[in-house]
Symmetry: C2
Subunit: 334 residues, 2 copies
DNA sequence: TTGTATGCGTTATCAC
DNA sequence: GTGATAACGCATACAA
């Protein structure tokens, strides 16, 4: 059932059918009614491929995440999908993993589908800070469609980003721990992404401004898995720390498990702060103080930016930032 | 840059370019090389809209989930996306929520994008068992493209499904609890979906075969939220139960929290079994015995079915089933 | 082995 | 208001 069939059945030309379908006002009420009747009866919908070919868009956004089973990313996608859909855009989803090469490849794959814009979820896409060249693939993509990076700042023409103040949040938390007399604060991370670097910077700033040394032994890189974290900490028996800040709740929960295994009481012997305020923070015992990085706001802003950019508006701010919130629960005493 | 440009630059016809791009063997090595050179130099890729218009496919699968921030569904999507991508198919994602009307609407939306097949993740799509009509929208969709339901059995032409043996798993777990002397086993669920009904049936079967009555007061429907579950159980102070089985880990963790609030010891005073074996099961304390419903296998099978169906193979089994696995941790003593 | 011509189903630009 | 017709960029049947 195509536009020719409908035209024939309604006794009009395809141009008129097209006008009716697209709500043109240059059609008489009478013919509009007649055409609509046929359309309804036959359940006709325009062929999106033909539309796409003519208009050069199928109203889709490409969304790329490294790992969709990560709680942070899946909730981000949830917000993005809803927002985009409300504006008539569908999402083509890609899961790229964390390998640089694979990320660039996936970007190409999405571009080849002629998406209208590309949303990269997670600071993993913003490189590890080794070199500006790491993010060249983003700027190349941006030559074709606008690119929106969530939680990672990338510079470039047609590249937009929305982040939350990870550095400030981590600085504030570290400060609070120091104020409560914590002497040796362990920093746990699983990556060197933009946001991980920001968090570490905040941690170091707080130490420095308090006149404390930044000790390499207190900065651990590890896998973001609960048991792996617990076991690693158990191995470092003589590391001697009285607080833990982690760049994701998973590692923080691992620290909680470590405390249980060592018979340490929380928060008296050990303060622990997680990140992302995921359901893990509520599941563990004692429940985890965690930093809420405002996924919903960031996603909403990104969708807004997406729509405005596609409408051809020149947006004032290419880089949007929002403050994190510290959600205090029972693993801290500040 | 289109096929005409490339043809002109390479000094051949568009047919030849098309042949080269599609790897036809009826092109001489020499011209193939020449054309490829131009293609590489210009970075040409075929316009997928034009391809789609001609071939009536863009090699996309529609994937619909009620809630992508649910751990079970996001991990399912992760497996599906990878599997489909390995076969050259991309995913258009929809998040429908749990409302019947919205689910049907989203199915229409995906169909309008001319997907090659539709994958519905989660038994929510299989109806609440009230009437066969609930799933009519699935059979209607199946008139256009093959539909694959994950974790919910739906009958119909061109409808396929993959489930795990929820009924058997729940029966086995309940049996084990009874064998260990548990007298009053609480059943917690947040829905009446196909899989929830299967689980309840298994629970009831185990009770019945042990000569125990199935008590309505011991079957609770509630929201799948940790604190909400805990608080609800605290309200029912005189309910008197010595075991809990839940249709999702979230509620089971809520029961763990309830035990902590009441000062009950686990597993001595209370046995608890969760479902889906998510990261929540590992995050909570004590760690949760949970049922692994084999998401990866089910998704792999679904992708396989998807590909075979699209290739026009007649598949022997429209309904695939795999057994769950009970993952014993520290909230049970069987 | 290569080229020509046509169809795919729209939208949009013209005439009328 | 309405209709004829030209793009849009590809794959492919058919000719050469």
């Amino acid at each position: 059932m195509n536009i020719y069939d409908i035209a024939k059945m309604a006794g009009v030309s395809i141009a008129t059918v097209s006008r009716v379908v697209n709500g043109s006002d240059k059609v008489s009420e009478k013919t509009k009614r007649r055409v609509m009747e046929v359309i309804e009866k036959e359940g006709y919908t325009p062929n999106v491929f033909a539309q796409g070919l003519g208009l050069n868009t199928m109203h889709t956004a490409g969304i790329l995440v490294p790992d969709i089973s990560d709680l942070y990313m899946s909730s981000a996608i949830s917000f993005l999908e809803e927002g985009l859909r409300n504006h008539g855009y569908n999402c083509i989803l890609g899961c790229s993993g964390f390998r640089q090469e694979s990320m660039a490849q996936h970007v190409q794959m999405l571009l080849s589908k002629k998406i209208d814009g590309l949303i990269l979820v997670g600071s993993a896409y913003a490189g590890n800070g080794a070199s500006e060249r790491e993010t060249d693939y983003i700027r190349e993509a941006a030559a074709q469609v606008p690119v929106f990076v969530i939680n990672g700042a990338v510079q470039g023409e047609n590249v937009f980003s929305a982040v939350c103040g990870d550095r400030e949040a981590m600085r504030e938390v570290t400060r609070a721990l120091l104020r409560r007399g914590r002497k040796r604060i362990l920093f746990l991370t699983d990556s060197e992404s933009y946001s991980a670097r920001e968090k570490m910077a905040g941690y170091e700033e707080a130490l420095t401004e308090a006149g404390r040394p930044v000790l390499g032994e207190l900065k651990l890189k590890l896998r973001n898995r609960i048991h792996a974290t617990r076991d690693l900490l158990l191995q470092y028996r003589n590391l001697d720390f009285d607080a833990v800040v982690a760049t994701d709740d998973g590692m923080a929960v691992g620290a909680v498990k470590y405390a249980a295994a060592r018979g340490l009481s929380i928060p008296e012997d050990l303060n622990i702060v997680g990140y992302n305020n995921s359901s893990l923070a509520v599941a563990c015992e004692p429940e985890l103080t965690s930093i809420d990085n405002r996924t919903e706001e960031i996603c909403r802003e990104t969708v807004d930016l997406f729509m405005r950019t596609l409408r051809g508006e020149t947006v004032p701010e290419k880089h949007f930032s929002v403050s994190c919130r510290i959600v205090k629960r029972n693993t801290t005493d500040f």
